[in-house]
């Protein structure tokens, strides 16, 4: 496998006619950890949903490519097969479908007809991954996200990511509502994929998870675009100073 490159260029997105993203540009490569921070309502989740092709979002202009291929022309399932993954802030509940059954169906969909994962191999990998994420083995027999606590849902998103092995993962507030031990486990999960064939884009409000993930790049989003980028120090700065200074800087006419 090669090093993936996700390139977002001057992306404009609307929801029900209302502009949400207003010219966002960002490139995520394999081997890199990017963090996106920013106040509520600045378009962070919209970016994540748009990248995965949520039907509510309309791209009005701009480009998104993965290894040069036009992501915006792909259906959601094709994006997944190209190697994109979105750990969702509010994962859906699917009654009657066990987490294990779902995961196997998803892996087989990604692999394609005739390349299904052998049951034993699947079971072994699932057991191993769940152990790594410190999850109760019974978890895989529960219906997907049904009656899961907030923390269990987040952990389940990471479990899926590790099982599906994407090339570029977007993690939308994967740390919200988690205690410190859970955050450590989630961070451990993400780190286990780190390498030249995996890039990640971590959307968060808090510096805490970033102290484990040590992002290479930190971007601040405001009003639908990236207004400031830096390294991990930027996250620490935000933690101590808040967003006001960035806002002041951003709204100062150049």
């Amino acid at each position: 496998m090669s090093t993936p490159i996700l390139a977002i260029k001057n992306l404009h997105v609307e929801i029900e006619g209302k502009p949400i993203l207003k010219g966002l540009t960002l490139t995520v490569k394999g081997g890199e950890v990017h963090a996106i921070m920013g106040p509520n309502g600045t378009g962070k989740t919209s970016l994540a949903q748009t990248l995965m092709g949520h039907p509510h979002y309309t791209v009005t202009s701009g480009q998104v490519t993965l290894d040069g291929q036009d992501v915006l022309a792909m259906r959601t399932d094709q994006r997944a097969r190209a190697g994109l993954f979105l750990a969702m802030q509010y994962p859906s509940e699917i009654s009657g479908v066990t987490t294990a059954n779902f995961l196997r169906t998803a892996i087989n969909s990604l692999r394609g007809e005739g390349h299904q994962i052998p049951l034993k191999e699947f079971r072994d990998r699932l057991d191993e991954t769940m152990q790594f994420l410190e999850m109760d083995p019974k978890f895989s027999n529960r219906y997907l996200n049904e009656g899961f606590s907030g923390g269990e849902k987040k952990r389940n998103e990471i479990l899926q990511m590790l099982m599906l092995r994407p090339r570029i993962a977007v993690l939308d507030e994967i740390d919200s509502g988690l205690d410190i031990d859970a955050i450590k486990v989630v961070a451990k999960g993400v780190q286990s994929l780190n390498g030249p064939e995996f890039g990640s884009l971590v959307i968060t409000h808090y510096q805490r998870i970033l102290s484990y993930l040590k992002p290479d790049f930190v971007h601040i989003m405001m009003d639908g675009r990236v207004v400031k980028s830096g390294d991990y120090q930027l996250a620490e700065e935000l933690e101590s100073k808040g967003y006001e200074w960035v806002r002041a800087e951003y709204s100062t006419p150049l």
Binding site: P55, R75, D77, A80, S92, S95, V97, A106, Q160
Partner: protein, 468 residues
């Protein structure tokens, strides 16, 4: 996201829609008269009491008006129906004895294979008569009787006389009267006191001729402390004109006995499926109806349990799938007539491609049914904007000291669910199927393994017309 164009499920997509040509050795002309009934009884060499029972039922049938509730019966013309078709001269005890054309049909439906694998016994009815019947030797030796109802009338006349028509008399409703007048075939099961039959007995019903009326009559007696599981499946070819399936199933579950009756009906979309199913459950007895309805033009079926003894339990677990031009008017009835009785109804329905599902149910607490409980849950999944669903629950409470819970949900496959699943690589079709499978999982998990596999296959097949 992909946009889906709902495609209509047409008749030819019904996979059991083939027919075998006309294989009958004796076929009545259309229409129903006193002579039709007398002739059926004469061919079967029945005792006089049965002929009298039939003729009385025919009177009741003529007198009763067509039901004005439920589904649309406007296109059902009793004069167009053929009331009796005998497909072969004799019933086969071994598979080789079954006529080739019929054998081919059941081979295509997978019956002999299923029998070899996991069944206690098999009965296969083609048109009006049971053409093949077998029961495992060890079960026969335990005293279990599993035969067709015509044979039972000859070989176990005293059991038939005692129980036949006692749970569902001809007066019950117009279609029970019709069945009582012209019944042919069906299963008779008797499980002796304390005997457990832990592998399922299966019956298979197949209509082949156009405008055929199939009127099987099933009677099951689970004697004190016994246990049994009876499973039936049904199919018919697709014709442009209507066929009628109007069965009566009577079950007696004596003290401390437990009986489960599982049906997976997969009729072609030209069949009117109007069935009366009722069980009487005595002291501490348990009756469970597991009822799957796929296909047919109109199904009206409300399996009932009369909880007649203290501590009796009743359960109806059902699914109904309605596609284009189909109406599934199904539900359950629970009559609490003794103290400390409990009932559970879980109804799951799916409507798609303009189909219609109706849950119609009754829970009745008679005076003296104190400390009885009932729990009713109706879940509906609507697949598109052309399809509809109704819930018509009735409850009658004549005893104040009872507990009744009712819950109904209507859901659509949500955009968020589809987005979530497709974001993991599932196509929209796979995602929808997974959601539907999950929805009916509380039903499929109650089926014997082989039936669950078949059920999932049927549902998958039904869904394929829908998702492009």
């Amino acid at each position: 996201m992909a946009t889906t164009k709902p495609q209509m499920l047409v008749n030819d997509e019904y996979q059991y829609g083939f027919n075998d040509g006309d294989v009958g050795v004796l076929k009545f002309s259309r229409g129903l008269t006193r002579q039709t009934v007398e002739e059926i009884s004469r061919i079967k060499k029945e005792p006089k009491w049965m002929l009298d029972f039939r003729l009385h039922a025919l009177d009741v049938f003529f007198k009763k008006p067509m039901p004005r509730w439920g589904g649309d019966l406007g296109r059902l013309n009793f004069d167009d129906i053929v009331y009796y078709v005998r497909p072969s001269e004799n019933q086969g005890r071994t598979w080789e004895e079954v006529p080739q054309a019929i054998k081919d049909t059941f081979e295509r439906l997978g019956i002999p294979e299923a029998e070899r694998k996991f069944l206690a016994g098999v009965s296969a009815q083609y048109e009006s008569e049971v053409v093949y019947h077998s029961i495992r030797k060890d079960l026969e030796e335990k005293g279990i009787i599993f035969t067709d109802t015509d044979t039972a009338l000859r070989e176990y006349p005293e059991l038939l006389r005692e129980y036949f028509g006692t749970i569902i008399p001809p007066e019950d409703n117009k279609f029970a009267a019709l069945n009582s007048a012209v019944w042919s075939g069906g299963s008779f099961v008797y499980i002796p006191k304390g005997v457990t039959c832990d592998i399922p007995m299966q019956a298979y019903f197949r209509i082949n001729s156009e405008n055929m009326g199939q009127f099987e009559r099933t009677l099951i007696i689970a004697d004190t402390g016994s246990f049994g599981h009876y499973v039936e499946g049904c199919t018919a070819p697709s014709y442009n004109s209507e066929s009628l399936h109007s069965a009566v199933v009577e079950i007696i579950v004596k003290d401390d006995a437990r009986m489960r009756y599982t049906t997976v009906q997969n009729w072609a979309s030209n069949v009117y499926n109007l069935v009366t199913k009722r069980a009487a459950a005595y002291k501490n007895a348990t009756m469970e109806w597991v009822d799957g309805n796929i296909g047919s033009k109109l199904t009206m079926k409300y399996p009932a349990v009369y909880l007649l003894g203290e501590g009796a339990r009743g359960m109806v677990l059902s699914i109904a799938v309605a596609g284009k031009g189909q109406h599934q008017d199904t539900g359950a009835k629970m009559i609490h007539a003794a103290p400390n009785t409990t009932s559970t109804i879980l109804s799951k329905s799916i409507s798609q491609h303009g189909g219609k599902t109706t849950y119609r149910g009754l829970v009745h607490f008679a005076p003296g049914a104190e400390n009885s409980k009932s729990n009713v849950k109706c879940d509906t999944l609507i697949m598109d904007n052309d399809s509809t669903s109704d819930t018509v629950p009735y409850s009658e409470v004549a005893d104040s000291n009872v507990a009744m819970e009712h819950e109904a949900t209507v859901t659509k496959v949500s955009e968020e669910q589809l987005f979530y699943l497709t974001s993991r690589g599932l196509s929209e079709e796979e995602a929808t199927r997974l959601i539907v499978m999950g929805f009916i999982e509380p039903f499929t998990r109650e089926l014997p393994m082989e039936f669950a596999v078949e059920m999932n296959r049927l549902i998958k097949f039904e869904m394929e017309g829908a998702i492009g």
